[in-house]
């Protein structure tokens, strides 16, 4: 039996868990192709025009999987992975949204409503076990193993690897040393959701582009979960979405502890939580002196636009660093 996993939304973050889980259960998994223009166009054609870009891409991937002839499409419904912290409403309604906009899609739903980051709670995966006809005991052992794999995967991420690189280390036999980069004098915090940063169609390989400009990149998934809790009490009102809260907290950690020289916020057109989080970050860290740029991306965004803006932003930061250094040297000579 083939289970299809769309390469969209939270795929890059939970892929190791899902792959490990379904392989332990003895299913074949099929991952949809990387996002391309035709694939995305198919998604746009079936989805309501107003909805945010990542959901359109998700539907494109679902159609791609159906063309590949899978039996089930794995489409978890994320509600909670932490108490009092929600997912965006579109995640909560996602399975029905997919079923109704892509007719004939056979959706395999996991009800993620638990208090663990790795979602490996047997309660959440009970509907999956029921639909696939697996005994719960088998599911429990498989989940336990998958959770261990996920923890290992997150360890690699904390070493400073991107999610793609960590997955390569996990499954393709690459070693951590392959991805060690030279330390540059400029560090930029790149904040944006998994799909905004890692989907090559949305982000247009922004991490690679930044590294070519001799910049160290930090994303929120490289930070430890405990680190993200550090400044949570400073919020004027809790930001009650899981990943938007992570973004906000990572921005505060980056500015206060990691001394980044600039922050790029990458967001998709029509993203609801980002409209709030962007404003909060802009307002709360206005006095910190760290430059902040928002990149908004939709199906019409051109690659040269992105390139130009990133280059201008990094040039400005590098010039600032140089200027500060010069002034300091002059001051020292005077003394």
């Amino acid at each position: 039996m083939k289970i299809g996993i769309p390469r969209a939304l939270l795929f890059q973050y939970y892929y190791p868990l899902w792959r490990s889980l379904f392989e332990r259960l003895g299913f074949e998994i099929v991952v949809s192709d990387e996002s391309t223009k035709p694939l995305v166009q198919k998604g746009i054609a079936v989805t309501v025009p107003e909805i945010c870009f990542p959901i359109k891409i998700y539907n494109g991937h679902v159609i791609n999987l159906m063309e590949k002839g899978v039996d089930y499409i794995f489409c978890p419904r994320f509600v909670h992975i932490e108490k009092d912290y929600w997912f965006c409403p579109k995640y909560i309604g996602l399975p029905e949204l997919v079923e109704m906009s892509v007719p004939g899609s056979n959706v395999l739903v996991a009800e993620i409503d638990c208090q663990r980051e790795d979602t490996a709670d047997p309660k959440c995966y009970a509907p999956v076990a029921k639909k696939l006809g697996i005994p719960m005991s088998k599911m429990k052992t498989a989940l336990k193993g998958a959770a261990e794999d996920f923890a290992k995967f997150r360890e690699y991420c904390h070493l400073g690897l991107t999610l793609d690189e960590a997955a390569k280390v996990m499954f393709e036999g690459a070693s951590v040393e392959d991805f060690i980069l030279p330390e540059y004098d400029t560090t930029i915090g790149l904040i944006g959701y998994i799909y905004n940063v890692y989907d090559p169609f949305i982000s247009m390989n922004i991490i690679k582009k930044l590294r070519e400009l001799k910049v160290n990149v930090i994303t929120f998934d490289m930070l430890d979960a405990r680190q993200l809790l550090k400044y949570r009490n400073n919020c004027t009102r809790p930001i009650f979405w899981t990943f938007p809260d992570k973004l906000y907290q990572s921005a505060s950690v980056m500015i206060k502890d990691l001394q980044v020289q600039g922050i790029i916020h990458i967001t998709a057109f029509g993203c609801g939580p980002d409209s709030i989080v962007g404003k909060e970050i802009e307002h709360d860290f206005a006095d910190s002196g760290v430059p902040f740029m928002t990149l908004r991306i939709d199906e019409h965004t051109g690659e040269s636009h992105l390139q130009t803006r990133i280059e201008a932003f990094t040039d400005m930061i590098k010039r600032k660093i140089r200027k500060v250094k010069e002034v300091r040297e002059v001051n020292e000579v005077k003394r």
Binding site: V48, E50, K90, I92, G93, R237, G272, I276
Partner: protein, 403 residues
């Protein structure tokens, strides 16, 4: 203290509540073009439309010197829960000292609720406050009842504008009330006013009915939704709105396991299509759509602010749901760019379509004609039987003659 609140639908209830508690009320203006421009200028770009309108209203209130703005909070996945925080920051950036205060869910954090309530009570003792609350509730409940009626009979007014004029009078009458008895008296008077307005007579099967569902702020505030209800009424269509302040309060205060108010049952009826509420009113709205279909409504108008998170989930489901229920659903997403002519044109086209659909159902087809002949024959048969019975028993006053 100078207190204000966002303008949402009929604000008489809030106004009376604040006045009774001894605050000076800064009345918020009806959202105008200036309000929306101010809001769009100082709000984050991609935030939903209600936020922008409320920002505009708050700025206008702050200009007039309001010290405290009271609003409702939330902690669900809808963006509305973050409104007060961002509003506060926007006002702060603009240099106003106005404070935004919210009522959060009292079942979640009761002590915080008591704290905010105490501040608002302004030293009034608890029994008096309870009395005021009962009065305000009666006021709001009666006004909502009248408004529901207004939206049905306004469709058949002979001289256009009569009912809207009368409604303005009624609102000012209610503003002068002081006790529950006053409210009841005014309610009776208002009903008399309604009855005195000339109306067309319509047969039951010729009534065209439309339900309005959507995000609570845009369906309640007529200036924001470009007077959708009045436009529909002027096209001869009855309107039923699903959100009123009194209903909202009942839905949130009365425990969920009780069968009343109706919104609790409606909430559960959409389990098949939306198993979990995605925040806001999306599950309830889906339930209302099913309810309207069950009651034989001719169509549903779905209003949502541009990029509203929960309503977008509904929007994605509506094409399939509309097909399944065989009921037309029109979605209008509203933002500061929306023009009244746009809404009018689309609603005219929609009402023409639902009218032709409604009457085509009633037009006789060959099957229908055969059915109606059969029915007629059966009726005649029963009548004949009755006549026979009457003749046999020969009572003093035969039943058929009395009619």
């Amino acid at each position: 203290m100078k207190v204000s609140f966002p303008h949402m639908g009929c604000v008489t209830g809030y106004k009376r509540l604040m006045e009774k508690l001894g605050h000076e009320v800064i009345m918020p203006e009806r959202p105008s073009q200036r309000t929306m421009e101010l809001g769009a200028k100082y709000s984050p770009e991609f935030i939903c439309f209600p936020f922008k309108v409320m920002t505009g209203t708050y700025i206008e209130c702050a200009e007039k010197g309001a010290q405290l703005i009271v609003s409702s909070g939330g902690n669900g996945p809808c963006r509305a829960g973050m409104y007060p925080d961002v509003h506060q920051k926007v006002l702060q950036e603009l240099g106003y000292k106005t404070e935004v205060m919210v009522f959060d869910n009292m079942f979640k954090d009761f002590s915080a609720f008591v704290k905010t309530a105490k501040r608002l009570m302004n030293g009034t003792n608890i029994f008096k406050t309870a009395g005021i609350a009962a009065y305000v509730y009666a006021l709001v409940k009666k006004m909502d009842k009248l408004e529901k009626r207004l939206k049905i009979i306004r469709a058949y007014e002979v001289n256009q504008g009569d009912f809207s004029k009368a409604w303005k009078n009624i609102v000012s009458m209610f503003e002068k009330t002081n006790t529950i008895r006053d409210v009841n008296r005014t309610y009776k008077k208002a009903l008399e006013i309604f009855d005195s307005i000339p109306c067309r007579e319509v047969k039951e099967q010729e009534r065209i009915r439309v339900g309005i569902v959507g995000e609570i702020y845009v369906i309640m505030e007529p200036t924001v939704n470009k007077n959708v209800e009045e436009i529909l009424n002027s096209l001869g269509v009855e309107v039923e709105n699903v959100q009123y302040i009194s209903d909202w309060v009942e839905h949130n205060v009365i425990p969920k396991w009780l069968p009343f108010p109706k919104s609790h049952r409606v909430f559960k009826s959409s389990d098949k299509v939306s198993p979990i509420n995605c925040g806001g009113h999306d599950k309830e709205n889906m339930g209302w759509v099913f309810d309207f279909a069950k009651r034989g409504f001719d169509g549903v108008v779905h209003l949502m602010p541009f990029a509203c998170l929960p309503e977008l989930v509904n929007l994605g489901k509506f094409p399939a749901v509309s097909k399944e229920l065989n009921m037309p659903i029109i979605s209008l997403s509203l933002d500061e760019q929306m023009g009244e002519a746009h809404v009018k044109t689309r609603l005219e086209a929609f009402s023409d379509l639902i009218k032709s659909k409604h009457f085509s159902k009633q037009q006789p087809t060959s099957g229908n004609v055969a059915d109606s002949f059969e029915n007629a024959a059966r009726k005649v048969g029963t009548k004949v039987d009755k006549v026979k019975e009457n003749l046999q028993t020969s009572p003093a006053k035969p039943e058929y003659q009395a009619k």
